[in-house]
């Protein structure tokens, strides 16, 4: 009998749709039971919860899975900087009751061989719920930034308004970004918007800034800061927002 036959819990592999951009090497040595763990959060009707997290560089990688149920007219907001090392996955599954809202802002930023990803599953289970997701990826070296966003709209979830936007900047050749928006809509009175763009830093803006005396590294910092700021625009408290931006930008110091 081989070892594989006695593993109690099947580990995900990159053949699984939700793990298709994951790091196979990380999955191969991971503890299947640990990967199957979810944190659970209940947002009571009419209440608001916010989760703000930063995954700093260093370590052997991590998988964080959060399952949230938002009660009627409740609101859940999540803002994450994923600058994690190796394979760093932040996954969130949100089920929205009537009139509830889910706000998500995510930034992947890093170099090296890192694979940094967000996986979201937003379930509009009842009428009148809204969701808004903004993800920005800044990658260099041979790193990868991923965003898999699945939106499900149930049959009676009329007047759903769901928006999803992903943009990536690749600072060097060799860096990668992947996105996979997935919409599964069973209601007919629904607004779903999604957009995605992957590109390089604006060279025209770079020269304009240089012509005013800004060295390339400062110009790049300003441009990247403006770029990732979209993801944190939903953070109401300015000091918190600025701190998140500063923290994300501090990682850029390692870039070429």
């Amino acid at each position: 009998m081989t070892d594989a036959a006695i593993i109690p819990l099947a580990r995900p592999s990159t053949r699984d749709e939700e793990w298709r951009y994951a790091d196979p090497a990380f999955l191969a040595q991971a503890d299947g039971a640990a990967l199957a763990q979810w944190r659970v959060l209940e947002v009571p009707a009419g209440e608001t919860r916010q989760e703000i997290r930063t995954l700093l560089p260093g370590g052997d990688g991590s998988v964080d899975r959060l399952r949230v149920r938002v009660g009627k007219d409740g609101r859940f907001a999540m803002f994450v900087t994923n600058a994690g090392a190796a394979y760093s996955r932040v996954e969130v599954e949100v089920t929205l009751a009537e009139g509830a809202h889910f706000e998500f802002g995510g930034v992947t930023i890093g170099g090296g061989d890192n694979i940094q990803e967000f996986v979201t599953r937003t379930i509009h289970a009842a009428p009148g719920a809204t969701s808004n997701q903004t993800v920005r990826a800044v990658q260099w070296g041979r790193s990868t930034g991923n965003f898999l966003g699945r939106i499900e709209v149930a049959r009676d979830a009329q007047q759903t308004d769901a928006a999803q936007n992903f943009r990536a900047i690749l600072l060097e050749k060799g860096a990668t970004a992947n996105t996979k928006p997935e919409l599964e809509i069973f209601a007919d009175d629904v607004k779903c918007a999604h957009g995605a763009a992957i590109g390089a830093l604006d060279e025209t803006a770079g020269f304009y800034m240089a012509a005013r005396g800004l060295p390339p590294e400062i110009a790049r910092k300003l441009l990247v800061r403006a770029f990732v700021a979209d993801a944190f625009a939903g953070i109401a408290d300015e000091a918190t927002r600025e701190a998140m931006l500063d923290q994300a930008l501090s990682v850029l110091g390692d870039a070429v």
Binding site: T204, A210, A211, P215, L222, A226, A229, D230
Partner: protein, 247 residues
């Protein structure tokens, strides 16, 4: 101040400048006029060091320094200002933030102390007032949502704040109505008409030269200066056209 000697430059493998020579002394305003495709914008980009604009022959000396050996941001710190024909929009970066970073980067490169936030705002307010640009606009992202005229006035506010030794202004007059043209012209005079400054105006038309009187006018055609003269040359061009004068 600026000495361009036998400058040849290519863009995408095509030679655009074909032996251009020009000297600007301190205290002088020069105008370069010429038809579309003569190489006017190429000249400004070559002086600014834009990637993709390759110098194949010749030299450019700026206050005794080899300008072409400097990176674009080093040229700015050395006192060169490039006014863009199409000022670039930078979403998410405010004018105030952009210009303060730029000014302090230049000061640092020159071994000067950075300007404090308060002193910078005072300076910005003064220059915005000179160009009659609402200070509120400087709090908005760089050139985003600005009209053509506002962009050009904002360029001149930038010039006022950065206080260069030599300004190369590429069609700063395009997109301006008569009133804005006068404001921009007076701004150029106030900021740059000084004994230790120089200006190179690149323009299609005579009209900006009514406000900013040039000491010398040059006609650029097919990548080189074909004729030079005093301010009267601009009037002749306006009346007779480039073909007649440059022939």
């Amino acid at each position: 101040m600026l000495k361009i000697d036998n400058l040849h430059a290519t863009v995408g493998g095509t030679e655009i400048l074909k032996g251009l020579s020009l000297t600007i002394n301190a205290g002088e305003v020069h105008a370069i006029m010429g038809p579309n495709g003569a190489g006017k914008s190429t000249l400004s980009y070559v002086l600014g060091g834009r990637p993709g604009y390759e110098v194949t022959e010749g030299s450019v000396t700026f206050n005794g320094q080899d300008l072409l050996a400097l990176e674009p941001h080093e040229r700015a710190a050395a006192g060169l200002f490039l006014g863009f024909q199409y000022p670039v929009e930078i979403p998410g970066v405010s004018n105030v933030q952009f210009l303060r970073e730029a000014l302090n980067a230049q000061r640092k490169a020159r071994g000067e102390e950075p300007l404090s936030g308060g002193d910078f705002l005072k300076l910005a307010r003064e220059k915005a007032g000179l160009l009659r640009l609402d200070m509120e606009m400087l709090k908005r992202p760089v050139n985003v949502g600005f009209s053509g005229g506002e962009k050009k006035r904002a360029e001149m506010v930038q010039m006022g704040i950065l206080d260069p030794k030599l300004a190369v202004l590429d069609e700063t007059d395009s997109g301006l109505d008569i009133d804005a043209l006068r404001v921009v012209g007076e701004g150029i005079n106030a900021i740059m008409r000084k004994p230790d400054r120089g200006v190179l105006l690149i323009t299609h038309y005579q009209r900006l030269l009514d406000y900013v009187k040039p000491d010398r006018v040059h006609v650029l055609a097919k990548g080189r200066i074909v004729t030079s003269g005093g301010p009267e040359l601009a009037l002749r061009l306006e009346q007779e056209g480039y073909e007649a004068v440059a022939a």
